[in-house]
Amino acid sequence: MLIIKFLSKLIRILRSAASPGQIAGGFVLGMILGLTPLWKLHNLVTFILLVILNVNISTALFGFALFSGITYLLDPFFHSLGFYLLVDVKSLWSVWAALYNMPVIALTHFNNTVVLGSLVSSLALVTPVFLASKKGVILYREKLDSKLQKTRFMQLLKSSRIYSLYERIRDWRD
């Protein structure tokens, strides 16, 4: 049920009127929210960007849900990366010390290993994920959508009671 819902949502987003850039932008912001600890100051900035920029919020939610699930598995990697950057790289100590004593920046808890490790990882992934997801949206729309609609899977999906219920709810919401 969850997988069907997930796939339905994805397909819906891909077939929506939003531009590939908007979808990719939303996805990237959702990725940052999902990969990093949620209740930190940098996510306030992410949230503000999500609200004020013209990005697809559904994609952001989708991205948040997707990457939240992965984050638990990647936690040891983030901790190790954060510890390496904060402690083992001696050339950065002075930078961290300056930021640690700087107003507002100190409130971001960047000195936490998981916060820094996950933030650095998500920022590193921003560009490739944005470009890849934008390209993916374009590819889907141009080449895959029509083929997918004709597949047995989609027929089943559409004919299933669950999907019809889903369409009714969707129509009601719209």
Binding site: I52, L53, H79, M102, A106, T113
Partner: protein, 617 residues
């Protein structure tokens, strides 16, 4: 740009601000209680905490910090407290307080609810396994090693008979085995002497020597025959004599070995007696052992209380000011906070001054200052200092100072407590059954100091109690003789004077405890028990002797008799042979002389005959 989004954000911010104004107090209270509970390991509860955004003023009406060792008591309780936070450091996540007032401070107050926290026990701090933690364990070990007397043995007479029933002495069995072995050895010699047929040999030699009568021998041939006989007898005697010599040597060695074995009997008996004494567990009473037994636990608990505080402060001071932290394994998604103390920058947490007021359980009003509670002392170049003093109208006074110095790589703490004329009412000085009495009334005087270094500890505790009034209302008829003896000693005491010293260097710990009560109680116990102990020892000695002496005497007698007999036999044989040797040698000499004379005579006669024949022819 999504203008609707901006509008939404503005509304959201306003709502959050409004909710913040309403709920900040509760949220802050919960956060502070959570943090405090994690540090202390027991409940920390604030009552009516109020945080004002205007002026960043924080106050509360009551704070209870439960004692993790006795969760129905508070380690610390405060009344009204207030402080102001500085705004700008908060933007850097730093909490800086210039001045804090804390009033109504009390310790050891009772709680209405259990202060135990449901969460798992606070993780072991590195200092619990470091020098401080190990020292605390060693001090506990010192008290645990104090003689663990079973006091029941003092409450009734020393019962030796029941012990004797359970005893199993080794020496009687050993003596029997030794006796058996010696008998076998003596039997061997007996058999050897029997086979040697000493009497027959002597008889034979005697008859043969007697048969040689040089005076009755006429002819040379008879003389020569007699000489041959004499020589053969001599050869036999020689052979017998060398046998006797060998036998005497072997016997001497054997008898010496027997003596050595017999000498072991004393050691066996001694070992048996020692075993008996150990089994009986007759008490060894001396003052030092009593001092540790009576007061040791209280002293060590007090010292360990201070050491526990030092251990915790060292742990957190080290964590917050560490130059290169160790990689920890935090819970999932929590991460590890790395701190970057910078000497020029402000520390993460700093309360510059706390003005305290409160009272001790003895109603001594205290006031004082705590200065520079800080996350990183190196950033401010100052140590944390505590200075409290107080007095009562009746002249009781208390001075307490403490210094926590973590500016150098080697941490150091100092505690000083002086108290004079402190009323002691309903106080139990010791939990030991050797000193069960409560002080109804007395005045206490304390002078103590504790200096803790990186790997060293020196502590001195001097305690005097004067004008003693003990609760001696217990009915004497219900007391056992030990209790009566102790009571008699305590009744006579007008002061208690206790001096304790602790010296730790690395892994070496020396705990010394002296008090005037040590000698008093030791004297009482000794007078109670010494006569009995001596009588018990004598009874046990007599018992061991009774079991062993008869066998020992029998063994000695056997050895003496057999030795005399065997020695006598072989000596008799040797003497017998010697006698006949003398007689035989004389006869031989006589025979040889006569043979010489006969030969000479014969030669002369032959010469004369030759001359006569020459004349004829």
């Amino acid at each position: 740009m999504r203008w609707k989004g901006i509008t939404f954000l503005v509304i959201l911010a306003a709502v959050i601000f409004g909710l913040g104004l309403i709920f900040t107090d509760r949220w802050l209270e919960a956060r502070l209680e959570d943090i405090g509970s994690t540090i202390v390991g027991a409940k920390v509860e604030f009552d009516h905490l109020d945080f004002s955004m205007v002026g960043l003023h924080l106050r509360w009406l009551r704070l209870q910090v439960a004692d993790s060792k006795d969760t129905w008591k508070n380690l610390l309780e405060t009344g009204k407290c207030e402080l102001d936070l500085r705004f700008l450091p908060l933007l850097s996540g730093k909490v800086i307080v210039d001045n804090m007032q804390a009033s109504g401070i009390q310790t050891g107050t009772k709680r209405a609810t259990d202060g135990k926290i449901r969460k798992a026990k606070a993780p072991e701090t590195s200092e619990e396994t470091g020098f401080v933690g190990r020292t605390m364990q060693r001090l506990q070990g010192e008290i645990a090693q104090a003689p663990a007397w079973n006091l029941d043995q003092y409450t009734r007479k020393v019962n030796v008979d029941s012990i004797i029933k359970l005893l199993h002495l080794r020496s009687p069995g050993e003596i029997d085995s030794l006796q058996f072995g010696l008998r076998q050895s003596y039997a061997h010699w007996d058999s050897l002497f029997g086979k040697a047929s000493f009497a027959e040999d002597i008889k034979d030699i005697e008859s043969r020597v007697k048969s040689i009568e040089p005076a009755q021998i006429k002819t040379l041939a008879e003389l020569q025959s007699a000489l041959t006989t004499a020589n053969s007898v001599r050869v036999k005697i020689d052979s017998l004599q060398s046998f006797v010599t060998r036998t005497q040597n072997d016997l001497r060695v054997d008898l010496k070995a027997a003596h050595t074995q017999v000498a072991q009997v004393d050691d066996w008996v001694r070992a048996d007696f020692q075993q008996v004494l150990e089994r009986a567990k007759l008490p060894d009473i001396h003052a030092q052992s009593i001092g540790k037994r009576v007061f040791g636990k209280k002293i060590v608990d007090q010292v360990n209380g201070y050491l526990g505080i030092a251990a915790k402060t060292r742990y957190y001071a080290g964590k917050l000011s560490s130059d290169k932290p160790k990689k920890e394994k935090p819970p999932r998604l929590k991460g590890q906070n790395i701190h970057f103390p910078e000497r020029a920058a402000q520390p993460k947490f700093w309360i510059k001054k706390i003005e305290l007021s409160g009272q001790t359980p003895q109603q001594v009003q205290l006031s004082g200052l705590v200065t520079d509670i800080v996350s990183n002392q190196r950033a401010i170049g100052k140590s944390t200092n505590v200075s409290l003093s107080g007095s009562r109208q009746d002249g009781a006074a208390v001075i307490f100072t403490a210094v926590f110095d973590y500016r150098q790589s080697a941490p150091a703490e100092r505690f000083l407590l002086n108290a004079t004329g402190i009323p002691l009412a309903d106080v139990k000085l010791s939990d030991s059954p050797l000193f069960p009495y409560r002080l109804v009334k007395a005045k206490g005087y304390v002078e103590s100091s504790l200096e803790l270094g990186a790997e060293s500890l020196q502590a001195k505790i001097g305690f005097t109690a004067k004008d003693l009034h003990f609760d001696l209302t217990q009915d004497e008829a219900s007391m056992n003789r030990l209790q009566k003896a102790i009571r008699s000693g305590v009744q006579g005491a007008s002061t208690i004077d206790l001096q304790a010293g602790i010296d730790c260097q690395g892994e070496q710990t020396v705990l010394s405890l002296n008090s005037n009560l040590d000698d008093l109680l030791a004297k009482q116990l000794r007078s109670l028990l010494s006569a009995e102990v001596d009588a018990a020892r004598e009874k046990l000695q007599n018992y061991v002797s009774s079991q062993v002496q008869a066998k020992r005497d029998h063994l000695q007698k056997l050895v003496q008799e057999q030795e005399a007999y065997l020695q006598g036999e072989i000596d008799k044989y040797a003497r017998g042979l010697q006698e006949h040797v003398k007689s035989l040698d004389e006869k031989r000499k006589s025979i040889e002389k006569r043979i010489e004379e006969e030969k000479k005579g014969q030669a002369k006669r032959l010469e004369e005959a030759k001359k006569k024949l020459k004349k004829i022819f």
